[in-house]
């Protein structure tokens, strides 16, 4: 294993390799930042470039892309309330309020630093679990998926704090959105109302583009001014504060990275859930925040961003071990491996350890590189928040709509984005949480599918959910997450009582 690591470093240390890595990283950053493009598109686009390359060169290029996208995505999430890629959506909740307060530099600094560290932790975890990969992936069967989804839904709903009722309502609407389209268990197309586009379900990326980017543009158009209107100039470039805040809140970053690795490794769940869960856990772990979550708490940026990048390592676990991609991006990456005659699976892990470690090193270096680039440019990027809305709105809107189209070259997705822009705008207006809505779209179909599969496996015996170790453990976590609000309220009361006493 050690020689393989050395070989990985050697592979990467030639100028040509570094150039490839930098190119991949830059493409990843750009594609991550533009909503609708994302890492999947970037990897897919670069496939043809790798035709003439050696396998390890292709791996370096792709590793560079994959590690950089979510860092890029965090920048647009913070500055424009527009998640560059779906998992960045959780970053908008506190990142954008920070930008509105003129603290965009700090938020970007924290986000980028958390990304780099999260990425490194994810990769280390990947290396650590290589020997036990098989056991981990085999642990998750339909009942475990079901429990994991339930845990996710409960944890997120609870995290909506004093908008709990509204959070539950938007979660349910999100579940309904998730039911639209083809259902794999019965092969039935549901809630399509005869529209061919809805047969495949409502796709997450156009929905998120509408829900976050365009709805925010509508909101800005109604409000006028600029994003960080009223905030003073001084605070715009506090990038180093952001970097420091990550080290100050290191436990947030560690827990976030843990979520990213763990959930990223479960095929079909992926980074979006990891980032959201990391965010909501953070909100729950911190019952008495200095600044309320959702109103610009820096920890609300660190948690999802560290999870976001850690998931790159995590989602490669099933990809490399079984050839089962943990995310869309790794699915394309898998295609690249196959094109180069590399068969993923145990064979790769055993016969081509040098390639695995080339990937590991490339992911690590790229995560750090992307972060350095973002930190260097953060000052200028933060200026975006001071541009007049009337320049921002039309440009962001059209680019976002092109992005919604580009994902599947499907004009219907533009209409979807537009409809979700409405929904999102009214959710902003009436203060209904978008966190629960987004996560429910993702988890809704997993919940239903894994429930029905469990029932098929167990011949309709519910015992399947409480006679398996991991499943019971997840159930326990669910109960714990539901009990948290009470705990949180108690803490708040105690704090208030203390303050009273001090007066």
């Amino acid at each position: 294993m050690f020689e393989a690591l050395i070989e990985g470093i050697v592979n990467l240390s030639s100028p040509h390799s570094l150039l490839l890595l930098a190119a991949g990283s830059a493409v990843g950053l750009l594609f991550g930042a533009i909503p609708g493009l994302g890492g999947t598109t970037a990897v897919a686009l670069l496939i043809s470039l790798t035709f003439g390359m050696e396998p390890w060169q292709a791996i370096i290029l792709m590793g560079g892309v994959m590690a950089a996208t979510s860092t890029g995505g965090s920048v647009s999430a913070i500055l424009l309330n527009t998640p560059g890629i779906a998992p960045n959506a959780a970053t908008t909740f506190d990142g954008y309020p920070l930008a509105q307060q003129g603290k965009a530099g700090m938020a970007i600094g924290a986000g980028a630093t958390a990304s780099a560290l999260g990425g490194v932790i994810g990769v280390i975890s990947l290396v650590a679990v290589i020997p036990i990969m098989k056991a981990i992936v085999l642990l998750f069967t339909p009942p475990e998926f079901f429990m994991l989804a339930i845990f996710g839904l409960c944890a997120i709903a609870v995290s909506s704090g004093d908008r709990l009722l509204q959070g539950l309502i938007t979660a349910i609407i999100g579940l309904m959105v998730g039911f639209v389209g083809y259902y794999d268990v019965t092969s039935t197309v549901r809630f399509d109302f005869g529209i061919p586009l809805l047969e495949d379900g409502i796709k997450l990326v156009p929905a998120l583009i509408g829900l976050f980017a365009i709805s925010e543009m509508i909101n800005l158009a109604v409000k006028g001014g600029s994003i960080s209107e009223g905030a003073s100039d001084v605070e715009i470039s506090r990038i180093s504060d952001g970097v420091k805040s990550v080290f100050k809140n290191w436990s947030t970053m560690i827990v976030g990275s843990g979520y990213g690795t763990f959930i990223g490794a479960v095929p079909g769940v992926g980074g979006t859930v990891a980032a959201f869960l990391s965010y909501s856990t953070q909100a729950q772990r911190d019952p008495t925040p200095d600044i309320e979550y959702g109103k610009g708490n820096i920890k609300g940026v660190i948690a999802p961003e560290s999870a976001n990048n850690a998931k790159d390592g995590g989602s490669l676990i099933p990809t490399l071990a079984f050839g089962i991609p943990g995310s869309a991006e790794t699915a394309v990456f898998l295609g690249v491996l196959v094109l180069h005659g590399i068969e993923p699976g145990q064979k790769l892990l055993e016969d081509h350890q040098d390639l695995v470690f080339t990937l590991v090193v490339a992911l690590t270096v790229s995560a750090v590189f992307a972060t350095l680039v973002v930190l260097a440019l953060a000052k200028y990027m933060a200026l975006l928040t001071r541009i007049s809305v009337h320049m921002l709105i039309p440009t962001v809107t059209v680019v976002a709509l092109v992005g919604a189209f580009a994902l599947n070259t499907e004009i219907g997705d533009v209409v979807i984005a537009f409809i979700f822009a409405f929904i999102g705008y009214f959710m902003i207006k009436f203060n209904y949480p978008r966190v629960t809505f987004t996560i429910a779209i993702v988890l809704g179909s997993i919940t239903e599918l894994s429930f029905h599969q469990s029932m098929l496996i167990s011949d309709d015996q519910f015992s399947i959910f409480y006679t398996r170790g991991l499943s019971v453990f997840l159930m326990f976590l669910t109960v714990l997450s539901l009990a948290f609000p009470t705990f949180r309220r108690k803490m708040k009361e105690r704090k208030l009582a203390k303050q009273e006493a001090e007066k």
């Binding site: 092109v402 070259t409 537009f418 409405f422 919940t447």
Partner: protein, 167 residues
């Protein structure tokens, strides 16, 4: 038991969602048992939640209790938390029309003509920028979109409904 004037828009919003939920439940019944189980469950949970949300808006004792139970805040405190932005219906409608026109335009004649026209018109007529400034940014945007999507990525940007099917 009535809903105070300033909370009426919220109430209408809830009623719209309720209508969607009812439509959803009605649609669910046409599917087989496996297919409708989860949708129905979710639909029927939504109805009481929405009704509670509606009740929490009223000025009744029950409304206050509900509000405190779910948010640890009285309805008046919730009001204070709300986004203070003044929003008039006509203003919102205007912006929906602009955005709607853009989407319709893209649908009919495609991205390439709509992108610069929209950027130009918005800057000129909504932002009050000069002809020159508006033209610069609109040209910049279309170049960015064209170079990135058409040239580098080789996407055929949607050319409008007519060219798409008959081009």
């Amino acid at each position: 038991m009535r809903i105070p004037e300033h909370r009426r828009p919220s109430a209408y919003y809830i009623l719209v969602i309720l209508a969607v939920v009812v439509l959803f439940i009605a649609t669910s019944y046409q599917y087989k048992i496996t297919d409708r189980m989860f949708p129905l469950m979710v639909g029927y949970v939504a109805v009481p939640l929405l009704l509670m949300d509606l009740l929490a808006l009223t000025d009744s004792k029950l409304g206050e209790k509900l509000s405190i139970f779910f948010s640890a805040k009285t309805p008046t405190e919730v009001d204070e938390d709300a986004d203070p932005t003044e929003r008039t219906i006509s203003q919102e409608l205007m912006i929906f029309v602009w955005m709607g026109a853009l989407v319709l335009g893209i649908y009919l004649i495609g991205f390439l003509p709509c992108t610069p026209v929209f950027v130009y018109c918005w800057m000129k007529f909504r932002g009050g920028y000069s002809v020159k400034e508006s033209a610069y940014l609109s040209i910049g945007t279309i170049i960015f979109v064209y170079v990135l999507f058409e040239i580098i990525l080789q996407y055929e940007l949607y050319p409008g409904i007519f060219l798409y099917w008959y081009g």
